[in-house]
Every structure is written in C-alpha cells, then in structure tokens.
C-alpha cells in the first residue's frame, strides 16, 4: 500500500493527464459511432452539435432549451426535464468535481494541445496582469446568467420590453467556439458559416466566428485561454465545494514558494498565497493537479476523494519529476 502510494505520488501528472484527456476526447467526440451515449448533462463541452460522433452532450445545450420555457410551465411537468437535467449534471459533477475540466473536457484538451504546440515552437506564453485577471474572471458568470435568462425571456415576453428574437434561443451555443471546433473533428464543418437569415442570426454567428478566430490565437498564446470565460466553469464553481474530489492544502507546510502558482494554467494565485483555507478550489481551477505535482513540500497539497488522498505532494515525487521532465 505504501509503495503504491509512493508510486502514485511520483507520477508525472502531466503525462498521465495527457493520456487521460486523449481517452476522454475519443470517448466524447468519436464514440457516438459506437453508439455510446453518456447522456446530455455532461459538465464539459462535449458539443451537442457534433451529431455524428458525440458520446454525450454538454449540459449547457439542454439547459438553454429547458430554460426556454413559459413561466407557468415552471411549475408543471414540463419543469421535470429541467430538474432531472440538473440533477444528472450535479451527479456527474459530484464525482469528479472540476477535474472534468482538467481531465475530460474536449475543448480543454484542444487548448492543452495548442499549448503543447506553442511550447514546441518555443513561443513564450502570456499571462494576464492581476487586475485584468480579476476583471476578466467575472465574464463567465455574466455569460452563465445570460444563457439562462435569454431563452427564458424569449418564452416570457414582458409587455413594453422589446421581444427577444427566436434566433437567440441558444445564445451561448452560437458564440461558443466548441460548436465549430468539436464537430470539425468528425469532418463536420457545417457550423463554420454565417447565418444571413436574420439580423440577429447574422450578428450572433459573426460573433461566433470572430470568437473562433480569437480562440485560435488566444489558446496559442494563453494557457487555457477560453476556460477563463467558460460559463460551464462558472456553473461548476457554484457547486464545487460539495463535490467528492477535493484539492486540499496544509498551509502550515507551505513555504509560499509559488511553484504551484507558476505552473498553474489558470493563474490561480491563492493556491500559493492562501495558507488559511484547507480546501482550495478556486472558481477557475480545473483540478488538473499540476500544482500538486509542482509542490516540493511533503503533504502540503493533496487531492482527496471522499477524504482519501489520491495524489499528494511529496519531496521524493517532486524531485523525481524534476529529473525526468524536460526531455523535449
């Protein structure tokens, strides 16, 4: 048991994660061909527009459909879909917590591949200044609120207010880069178009394509560029504290060396600076556990599942990784 622990803690988490992400990517993007279906409440961007290959569907898609519901129906059987959809989403989230983002999300994996590409090209990455970071991280909450409110507003027009056009029925999907990127992996480029049918559709699809362009450049320059703005991450964050997988910190052992912060793709400063909180899952965190791997202090950072440590910072593991990595 002890040896197993030591082995696990010595694991190069980045390599493990890369393989896991690849597996998850194939599962979510291609396994539809094998009729695998994990349902449509997944807490990651397993894009529903990838009709042919998807092995499950991103929860935001049904959520936007389900909130497209008249007020009266909220208290009828029709709200059942909303409730079961949410409960399924919640059950998924409960297990892996934000590690869905770090380990499963296909769009997350694509961004990590772009990071790997940049690294090979030896281009340096950019980071946000602390102020822009604090400002930008609010965007995802705004998007989340909008993607729920807009469909609801379509179904519940208010006297006196302008009517929200039907083309805004899935407002986030139209501007979500995954809608273009993920289906492209099964050769489906049908989403890469501008829709001239109405002004709203034109504006929204143009916005979508522009965001796609920014996504490609952004993800090449910033690590996990899109995840800062991802409303799924915001939705997960609301419940991440009750999930079973946790990222814990023993502040007494922390030297505040910042090693964890500097490897964090999400620029989470608290992971290094906060020595008070025992559970340190910030809203942007994707539980990639890179920070755990980068922490040289024995037992300072650890990931636990239902209280049982699954991956822990150890001196031995740290120094082993330090020698092994960087072959590229």
């Amino acid at each position: 048991m002890k040896r197993l622990r030591a082995f696990v803690n010595g694991v190069d988490i980045q390599r493990f994660r890369t393989w896991f992400q690849l597996f998850a990517f194939v599962l979510l993007v291609y396994s539809g061909y094998l009729y695998i279906d994990l349902g449509n409440s997944l807490p990651v961007f397993a894009c529903g527009f990838n009709d042919a290959g998807r092995g499950g569907v991103c929860y935001l898609l049904p959520l936007q459909h389900q909130t497209h519901i008249p007020w009266e129906s909220l208290f009828s059987w029709r709200a059942l879909g909303l409730v079961t959809g949410f409960l399924t989403f919640f059950a998924w989230l409960l297990v892996l917590n934000k590690a869905w983002c770090g380990y499963v999300c296909p769009l997350g994996a694509i961004q990590d591949w772009m990071t790997a590409l940049r690294r090979r090209l030896r281009l340096r990455y950019s980071v946000y200044s602390l102020e822009s970071f604090t400002r930008l991280k609010k965007v995802k909450y705004i998007l989340l609120v909008l993607l729920i409110l807009i469909p609801f507003a379509i179904s519940n027009p208010v006297e006196g207010l302008p009517h929200v056009p039907e083309d805004m029925a899935t407002p986030f999907c139209t501007i979500c880069p995954a809608r273009m990127v993920i289906p492209a992996f099964t050769g489906d480029f049908s989403q890469w178009t501008l829709d001239f049918s109405t002004v709203t559709a034109l504006v929204m699809t143009s916005l979508g394509m522009a965001i796609l362009g920014i996504f490609f450049v952004g993800a090449l320059v910033n690590k996990r560029f899109f995840c800062f703005f991802c409303p799924m991450s915001a939705l997960q964050a609301l419940f991440s504290n009750i999930a079973l997988l946790k990222l814990r910190k023993d502040g007494d052992k922390c030297t505040r060396c910042g090693d964890c912060y500097r490897v964090c793709d999400m620029q989470i400063k608290a992971i290094a600076d906060d020595v008070e909180r025992k559970i340190l899952i910030e809203d942007d965190c994707m539980m990639c556990l890179k920070c755990v791997a980068a922490c040289p202090e024995e037992g300072c950072l650890k990931a636990t599942f239902m209280g049982i440590p699954v991956y822990e910072a150890t001196e031995e593991g740290f120094f082993r990784r330090q020698q092994r990595r960087g072959g590229e």
């Binding site: 690294r119 990455y125 060396c257 500097r262 490897v263 040289p296």
Partner: protein, 424 residues
Amino acid sequence: MSAVPQGGRRAAVLAQQIRESAQALATLEREFPDNPAAMDYFYKLFHRVYCEGERAQPEGTLVGTTCVQVPDEIVRAAGGIPVRLCSGSHAFDQAGADFMPAKSCSLVKATLGLLQDERPAWLETLDRVVNLTTCDQKKKAGQMMEDLGCQVHHLEFPPSKDSEPARAFWRASVRDFVRAAERMTGGRVTRTSLRESIRAVSRAQAAYRRLQRLRAESPALLLGKDAFLVTNAYFFDDLERWTGAVDALVAELEARREAGVSAALRRAPRILFTGSPPVFPNLKIPVLVEQAGGVIVADETCSANRMLNDAVSVDEWNLYDMVDAVADRYLKPCTCPIFTSNGDRLRRLLDLARTHAVDGVVYQAFAGCQVYEMEHHSVSRALAEAGLPCLYVETDYSPDDVGQLSTRVEAFIESLRSRRRRSR
C-alpha cells in the same frame, strides 16, 4: 579606500585564518565522539580548502556570490562556477574592519576581508562578483568590492516579495543577470545548459532533503555541527561530488539507524537554530549548544536550509519559463529578514519546530545585523505563543564571548531538559 594593508600584515591575517580554521576543525572532529565515517570527506575537504588553500572546484571561471538569493543555476548555465563568499573567519572580519564601521556585521566585514589583495590560494583568480542588493551593509559592500578591483554585478533585489510588481521586477532583474553572467564567464546560457544546471542543483537539493528528513527522527542521527559543515561545503564544493558525499552520509545514517546507533541521547533537547548564519569556521554557537548536550536538528538560516530547501519548478522547459522559474525560486519562498514582512519566516520556524519535534530555539544575531536584531521581537513572540522557549544570542566572530555564552547556553539547555522532565 586607501587602507590597503601591507604585505606583512596580510600574511599574518592569512596565517591567523588558517590557524582558526584548523582549530575549529579539530573541535568539530575530535571533541565529539563517534562521528559518521562519511563526515571524513567533509573534514578533509575543509582542511584542504581552508588550511592548505586547495581549490575544490573543477576548471572554470569562478564567480563569487554574496548571498543565497543569487541564482546559482544561471551562473552554472553560463559556464561559471559559483562560490559563495560569505566568510566566517574572525581574521578576515578584523581585516575587513578597514572598510566598514566597527559596529557592522561580522559576516560582511569578513567577506570584504577575504577579498583583499592576498587571498587564500584557491581564490586568487576570482575577480567577478555578483552582489545582491539585500541589506544595507551588503548593498554598500558591493561598491567596496569594486574598489578592491573586482568586477561586480549589482543584482537588484526587491525589498518586498509579496506583490506582483516585486515579482515582475525581480524577474526582469534576473533576466538581465543572464546576460551579465554570460559577460562574466564568456559562456552562453542555452536551453540545454540551463536545464542541466537546474537539474544538477535539484539533485543536490534532493540529497539535502533526504538528509534533513533523517534529522527529523528521534533520537537524532546527526549533530548540527556536522550538518552545518555539510551545507557550508556547498558554498564552494564541486556540485556533483558534494551530492555524492551527502548521499553517502545519508546511506550511512540510515545504516546506523537500523543498527540503533544515534548521535545524541533520546532525551537530548532538540534545538532549532535560526538567525544570522553560522559559517565555518564560526560554528561557535552550534558547538556550544551541542557541547552542552543539546542537539540541533533543524535550522532556518541562509547558510543551510534557506540555501538548499526551496526548489525550482519549471512548467515549460524553454528559456522563457526556466529563467522565470529560477527567479521565482529565489524570491518567493525566501525568509530573509530584509523583506517588509516576515510572516513566512514565522510560519517556516513553526513548521520546522513541529516537524522536527523541537524543544527550543536558538536565535543568533550578529552584532550589527539590524534586520535579524529587529525581527527578534516578532519571532520570540510567535515562538512563545507556540510554547517554544527561545534563547536570543547577540554575538560576533570574536572568540572573546565564548565563556559567557557557554554559561547561557548551558543554562538554556538545562532548562529545556527540566521542562521535558516536567512535561513527562
């Protein structure tokens, strides 16, 4: 500075330095029974370097550094060999008094004393120094080193470490230093050379941590005086050889543990050492503590723990990230008292005390080292809150106060002993 000492006086200084080194070595080696055999490497090394003036380093340009926060990895990547110039010699301390006011820090004075015309043989060729702008005394010493004919790079260090601008400033400073180091050595910092130097230092740190891990055990397996000698050797020894020697020591200590051999009695009070750094041959306080029956199991000083504990963590093994990673490692975890806040130092002390089952703390402050003197209050308050007795010792490199100090140290150790008995 006009006070260039005459040749005769200089020779006397060197002779005195050799004498005190030999004497200190004799104390460390002979006055304690049953030293681990692997320590012989270190005793001999110090003898060769300090008494015979032999050079321990391989071929290459020596680059003197005056602080643990000078990034060794970069000097090494540029092809240089970093040598830490902080000296513990009373002879050099006296010689250095020509430059600095009498009331200033012994360590700074000794470093200046060391750099004067006639140096120990192995240091003769050294004329490149990286001086870090930490405390006022070191800052000003940089200029004096230039006057002594050294080519000095003033590596600018921020006075605070918590803010992002401080981090950015230091990163920029270290990036400039990469170029400066290249100029000093004529070498080039490349992706491969920096990666290899980071890894080599990291291997040394891993060895140090293995040793430190053993020191946490009870009864103690290694005396603090030996541990300080080991870390002191890191100042000037060949890196790979040093790592090998530490690994040998670790192996021997592990074997001793299996055989039930320990370096101190189980009831010997366990001491955490903090404050101004003990540097050979000035191991006065550690020796007094252990002669009195205590055992130093951990330290928070820049000649040992602070120098070797914290590790570089690289995310992308390209220069842009490696250089920043090196920079971060020398700023963020640093517990030096020159910073505006000392919260990290307090937490570090308390953590070491906890993990090493420490009974009491010995706080050394060199007379004239204002920053350590100033932090004494906050530190002893925090220690008192944690129920840890602390002995505050203000001293310098002169042997004059040994008698008086030994009485205080003995009394302190005795009080720890009786405290232990009571708590049992």
